[in-house]
């Protein structure tokens, strides 16, 4: 555990700070997200130095819907990119006989995806491409807005 985080938790356990204060302090310890995904955001070491690409740490999904009966609904999910990497590795646990059945069912439903093609060597490539992903869906008739981006 991070030393700063441990100190905050100890202060919370000792009753020196409230739970809300501890939450704010822990949130302040987290690194600032990149301002623009995939763009250079640092200083160059010299004239010819290549810009360093900042890798986003989180995938953010925002959904805003305004339904007639239920009123406005907002969903805001932040998923660590590391969790996506680990999640994709789950495909390696699917037994081989289930792969064929899954591929067949997916292609029947219009998803031409072969699960056996998801291997560790192309996993990193997949995640790298995901880092540049920004999806904005604005359905005016349904009054719903979906935004997916990395930060």
């Amino acid at each position: 555990m991070n030393e700063n985080r441990r100190q905050i938790l100890e202060m919370l356990a000792a009753g020196k700070i409230t739970a809300d204060e501890a939450e704010r302090l822990i949130a302040a310890l987290e690194p600032e997200p990149a301002t623009t995904v995939g763009e250079f955001n640092g200083k160059t070491a010299g004239n010819g130095a290549a810009p360093a690409k900042i890798h986003p740490k989180y995938l953010r999904v925002l959904v805003e819907a305004n339904e007639k009966d239920d009123g406005p609904t907002t969903v805001n999910v932040r998923v660590p990119m590391q969790l996506l990497r680990a999640g994709v590795r789950l495909a390696s646990l699917i037994p081989k006989q289930a792969h064929d059945q899954l591929d067949e069912t997916l292609s029947k439903h219009g998803v031409p995806l072969t699960l056996s093609q998801i291997k560790p060597e192309n996993l990193e490539e997949l995640i790298d491409h995901l880092e540049d992903l920004t999806v904005d869906v604005d359905a005016k008739e349904e009054k719903a807005k979906v935004r997916v981006f990395c930060e």
Binding site: M1, R5, L9, L12, A19, D20, E23, I26, E30, K57, Y58, D70, G71, P72, T73, T74, V75, N76, V77, R78, V79, P80, Q82, L83, R85, A86, G87, R89, L90, S92, L93, P95, K96
Partner: protein
């Protein structure tokens, strides 16, 4: 790093729950006590599914370790649910 704490907050138009801190690290105690049983079940499932148990453990461990930083906020009709894993 495995998740240590989960913060859960629920709000309704008439009631607001203060932030509930759930000490997930305490789950290690029952997990360690039940580890022989968990390992036996996992081994049985892996043999049945013809999957390497070490690979299964590695995948589940990596998922567990990457959970910190996950935030979920849902707001609907004045009700709010906020879950954060630290």
């Amino acid at each position: 790093m495995t998740p240590n704490i989960a913060i859960v907050r629920i709000e309704t138009p008439h009631w607001r729950m203060p932030g509930l801190w759930i000490p997930l690290f305490l789950l290690w105690i029952p997990a360690l006590l039940l580890s022989p049983l968990i390992f036996a079940v996992l081994l049985g499932l892996c043999i049945a599914g013809r999957v390497s148990p070490w690979r299964a453990i590695a995948v589940f461990w990596s998922i567990l370790c990457s959970l910190p930083g996950t935030n979920v906020r849902v707001q609907s009709d004045g009700n709010r649910v906020f879950v954060r894993i630290l």
